[in-house]
Symmetry: D2
Subunit: 463 residues, 4 copies
């Protein structure tokens, strides 16, 4: 069994002290479904033991009433898993639940451990057995080997060994613990429902369950929630924080507030800045729906070019479609998007998207617009060129597959057959968030931690 | 077995003369999925016999590769069924396939037969047996009893007995026949793929399969497609046509062209006219997504009020959600929509929707916006008040459930707690389509055919 | 759609006047599962309307609690369908439920209509539409066209048109009707549970539900069960009865009593007679389990040769098994049967089976026994050679596939590689049932009704 | 998560060196299905990595072609799990596959570790994490902590720590290892298919796959199968062997040969001895099918009382049946067994079963036979009274639930309402196997190892 490395973005949630705990976590996971569609799981404590239910697919398909009813108890944590290429494996879904010397413990993890291989090899050499290929199993092993007398110290000691991105929620029979890595790569929000405490990846999950926003868990903070109340620890040395700017570009929902900013406002500011930096003389500006919509509104606002819905998205997309023997032009894209000919025909068009990965989809969209009669197609991207893979939890292709890593902007323009192409500048992007400490490694290569390059780890911009 | 009356909107498609016929129909149904999500079916002819495969649920879930492979042959027709309240019944899915005296025949139907009860009673008295509760089975029985010597005459004679809305596609082992009722209530489009002919409810289905638009089947036209080519008949007396205006308001996809008009352009014109008729002093205008988006763009364009995405839609909605014991405010709406607080808070907001049915959803949306901090909420509806049920194929509640049927606009405004409420006028709407012959019975009660009122049928505005 | 001819044996059951009606029918079908494993269905009347639930597979898999709960009412009928070669079709499962001029009616049928093609063509010419390929749909059409004023007369008139084998149970909203064809080919038993009446194919179904045996429905009898009680009619002209002798040989369960005889006792008598007619000097006699067990006991009893279980049956047999690339000797048979080497090795063995159809299985069994060390293998068959197909409801191959139709006994012996082979004689068999009126057409070709030979119908031994 | 103790009997199989390895293991598991119906799994090595597929239910239902095709490679091991009371847990199905310091390893286990709690606690204290509640996970942990340099030494050292019953098959990427505990409680057979080696629980699995019997793995033997051939080790101190006599009474298939004896012959000898020890004047002797059949043949042979199939078994039994509101006498038993009235009525009957556990089923059978008209019912049991639970892998109730543990034979006779009751004597049973070293602890309480009594472990008959 090879140790597959998963780069995944996920959604996590936890509720402490509500007899509907599992049900509330289920709804929170539903609101966080955009962060992971591969599988989901919920663990629950009835104060005597832990029980877990997991499945592959969407939250609403996995958790029937009968399954939720089995999850009785007033503490629950849950996890949405991102769909990585290749096979789904039920064994890699979370929560991970295990019996260790300090009792039963459950864990959910959003992020990616960059020194997972090193730690895993060390643990295996020391007699640990691994039954999944998930990074997160390492954390439980570190706890089991920590020789600490209580869960809190065991967690503190274990997470100090981790390099990388980790927003974590732990649960024991009587406790819920939330934690963010010291760089604060991934978000984690503290909220309240009635008299219960809630932890969620994004505020949109609080909105659905009538929860009240309290504050974000701070980078490096470990928050312990028990019947006695909330206590905070800071098990890490202080470092400069580096929240992930890509959450604003693509990942988070526009109705969420994370890293103390409104996603919608930042995303719209990206669009305005993009219009300022890369104007174009055009008749209309259209988004690649849904991810490009808010930036397009910003572009339209700044430029004064009318906003139109020139591409209509089909929301019934399933996993696989059977193409006829004689193949259809732009088949993959057409299943999701269709141009509105009356809007497109004869127009000079700006089309705004959040990013370009391999370039193949952009190429199909440009061609589709031209076939629908567009006179000119100007592609504008509301983030800088994505040149470097993410090691902190977003599933990205390898560097050789990232078109911006190996091609100039002009080469990309030619490939996608656009009349012009422009990206938001790195500086422009950082201006919008009014803070240069954000992690922008996928654009700049400036990794805040050790990073893996080829076969080994090389220091690059170690903080 | 009671004869349940189904009022349903559906999507239909047919392909003649392509060895990928069933696969192309499957993709056309996928593109028409918005017209019906309850179930789908495809029948195929291999020139020796007909085979049919049906199922409940979405097209992409029903038709696996193995099922499509069973549908070999070069003629195929298919059907998407609308999800009516109550139970799903596999027996009511289409195509209907039957052996009659003229051979095997398959049928798909979009629309609703208003004299179904009369015809069914007559047929049953004459010895017919009914194995479904679908109106469409009547048509097959009429054909079987027609005493005609060939399928074309049998269809002609049978459809002359029908009152109501019917866009139909028939298939025999060697023939495909498309037909629209003389009023032309529902659309039906003729297209071409390579050397094959295609019939679809909307042009968006042609777009997906690389099909070319030829023309619409005319109201009252019957088109016979065989290996020899295409022939048209007109089995009905000429009447004034009455295409359904509600297709433009809500049902059709904005990227389709039907009734010789672009849906997007008409829908946007509704928004502009609405802004002209019912202006309001506001900070932003937002749509109820997705149905209100295009009209909102029109409203914004005419009024100059900035367009924003103030409500975010969750696209992972499943069939059922389990609410916690302690209920959540606006639960049903919240599962689908969430306000963007940073956009809403402190603003005077115009929110545009396509229609109000019972008013309960609008009420929840207004309250949700106010709880998100809206200073004022002005509801604008891009169609006139829906006061009358549709008898021509759109699933509407009974008159007593239609809030506009029993309440004044001011009463509705109070109920939904909006600061103001306005509908598009009937005249304004008809201006936008530049034709007063459209069926607007759901707004005006001016039914083009006999209609059913209570227990019997009463003439009202018989043409 | 070609009219497939199904030759099938089935199990049927009905309960009148018990609020647990559907549940009791479900258990009766479970007890009759050996008569059909392809699919099952139950229809139920709550005195206002009929409801039906059907599925493919085994009774216990189809009817979950939630489905049974939907079948409320105090009258229910049900059907088990035999698994014919080729595909399963949900549309051919029963009960058939239809709305006709006399109201709603449901029907289950055990048997086969030999003049189905003639009747179907006549009905289709007269405007009937057929939505299944089942013979039984013909009966409903005949009723709908009968011009009779009530269900009882409509049934009487309709069944008079039928040639062939039919044990039927009809249900309307307030009535249950049982009926056997005048030859009495298939069984139908009347019983009582508490104050309710029950109809079942075999008494073993009464045993399971604590039902009491009253009597068999007589050949040609039609029994009408209403709230007023039971009435009998005899709609047919009197003919000599011809119950199917194959029910005793193979089809019925050995714990049933049908045609006023105990299946176990008849089957054992066949074994004794076989031993008398075809003795052999051997060490042990073994059955082909389970079908040969009871006859083997009879053979052992008469001959004094010790009975052993030399072949062990695997009861976990599923639908399909995946054979390895390098094929396994006698794979198909080995999945079901395995010889007990310590019993077989070095012995002279008599192996008793109920019948030989194609001979391939018998050949594999003989070879398997010899490979297990048998010194001699003598095959004894507890029925005469099966030379003719059954037209009355048992699924048999065509004549050319019946080995006894085209080969002498000595040729068969050689083919199956047995040391000797003997069948029970026709006279011996009839001696055991003490009545020569049984239908033995599959052995003798003496069909009691018109029979189909090639393309047409020829009178042969018309009664 | 409480550490549930599972007492289970299982079937295991392995194939080394055949490109159809997984397919052959699948068929072997199918032949061993009687040893466990709860779930099954297969792991396969393609010489680079291990892959595992598991599921709940029957082998033939879990392993579709597509799943078997994923299991490519020429080494495979598999496992059938016994259905214990309570819930099924996928996490407890085997093979267990884990990555340890010596590489990837997979394991299947038939038996039960009596010192599991002690070992598990020790391992957990030392930092091990447990993700299942299965005993077998302990073995992997012991290996991971063994500090040995190779798999063979790690296994040797680990299994020396185990007390109890264990027939094991291990697999690495290049090796298959079979092992029996020194007492030899559970069987394990070595065979050959073509040029490949095979390990199976019973010989009936070899029969199905055309495998040749080589020999039994000896108690305490560890056999290592690699591309170089077969090597044997004996990692345990020599002790007196104690194979489980209950395998002959009930568990093994009658067509298997285990512990160098033919199950059929031993089981029949039990019946003869029972007739010798406890004769009765009766008209017929009948088995409780299928488990009592072979012993009944022995009883009939010795006593001369004719053998009949007085109880017919229904082989379509599913997991759950829905009983009507008004309950049915002997419902649970009737679903499986039905008396043949013509055989039973008016007779004095000996009914032979293999054992009595709680007595409730025997009581229902006796009553059912009397209601069917039996004049006398004499129950004969082909094993001694089961008074003690098994700690070596057979799922038995606790001592308080074993009727023979708390009641005299006369009390049991009264409870089951039989006219007489007799068990086979312990001496008689041991006579039949011609060896007193068999484990008969479930009858005698003479446990060959330490055993658990109440809360602790007490030495009783430590070898």
């Amino acid at each position: 069994m090879v140790f597959d490395k998963f780069h995944e973005e996920c959604g996590i949630a936890g509720v402490f002290g509500d007899k509907d705990a599992a049900n509330l976590v289920y709804l929170a996971l539903y609101a966080l479904q955009h962060r992971g569609q591969e599988g989901a799981g919920i663990a629950c404590s009835d104060r005597r033991s832990l029980r877990v239910e997991k499945g592959l697919g969407l939250v609403a398909d996995i958790f029937k009433r009968s399954i939720l009813e089995r999850l009785s108890g007033d503490i629950a944590i849950g996890h949405n898993r991102y769909s990585t290429a290749g096979e789904n494996h039920l064994k890699n879904t979370q929560p991970i639940v295990a019996d260790i010397n300090l009792g039963s413990v459950a864990l959910v993890h959003n992020g990616n451990i960059v020194n997972a291989d090193v730690l895993r090899n060390e643990l295996v050499s020391d007699g640990a057995i691994f039954t999944s290929t998930s990074d997160s199993e390492i954390i439980i092993h570190l706890m089991a080997k920590s020789n600490e007398k209580n869960i809190i110290d065991a967690i503190s000691k274990s997470v100090q060994r981790l390099k990388g991105a980790f927003s974590l929620i732990f649960m024991t029979e009587n406790m819920m613990i939330g934690l963010r890595d010291p760089f604060g790569f991934r978000p984690l929000i503290l909220g309240r429902i009635r008299s219960s405490h809630v932890l969620v990846s994004e505020t949109c999950a609080l909105d659905l369950i009538d929860g009240e926003f309290i504050r974000e868990i701070e980078p490096g903070e470990m928050i312990i929630i028990t019947d006695e109340g909330i206590v905070s620890y800071y098990p890490f040395e202080k470092v400069e924080i580096h929240p992930c700017i890509f959450e604003f570009i693509y990942f988070a929902r526009p109705d969420s507030r994370i890293f103390n900013r409104d996603v919608y406002e930042i995303r719209k500011a990206f669009g305005r800045k993009l219009a300022e930096e890369s104007p174009v003389d055009a008749d209309i500006v259209i988004p690649v729906p849904d991810s490009g919509i808010v930036a397009t509104l910003g572009y339209s606002e700044y430029s004064g070019i009318p906003y139109e819905m020139g591409l209509i998205r089909n929301h019934y997309v399933g996993r696989t479609f059977i193409e006829p023997a004689q193949s259809i032009r732009h088949f993959g894209v057409k299943l999701k998007l269709n141009p509105v000919k009356s809007v497109i025909a004869g127009k000079r068009i700006v089309v705004v998207d959040d990013s370009i990965v391999r370039g193949t989809t952009s190429r199909k969209i440009v061609k589709m617009l031209k076939e629908a009669g567009a006179k000119e197609v100007h592609m504008r991207i509301s983030s800088p060129p994505t040149k470097f893979p993410c090691f902190y939890g977003i599933d990205t292709p390898t560097r050789s597959e990232l078109i911006a890593s190996t091609h100039t902007i002009e080469e990309i323009r030619k490939y996608i057959t656009a009349d012009s192409l422009a990206y938001l500048s790195l500086e422009g992007m950082l201006d919008c968030v009014e803070n240069s400490s954000f992690c922008h490694a996928c654009f700049s290569g400036a990794y805040p931690t050790l990073h893996k390059d080829g076969n080994g780890y090389n220091p690059k911009s170690e903080v």
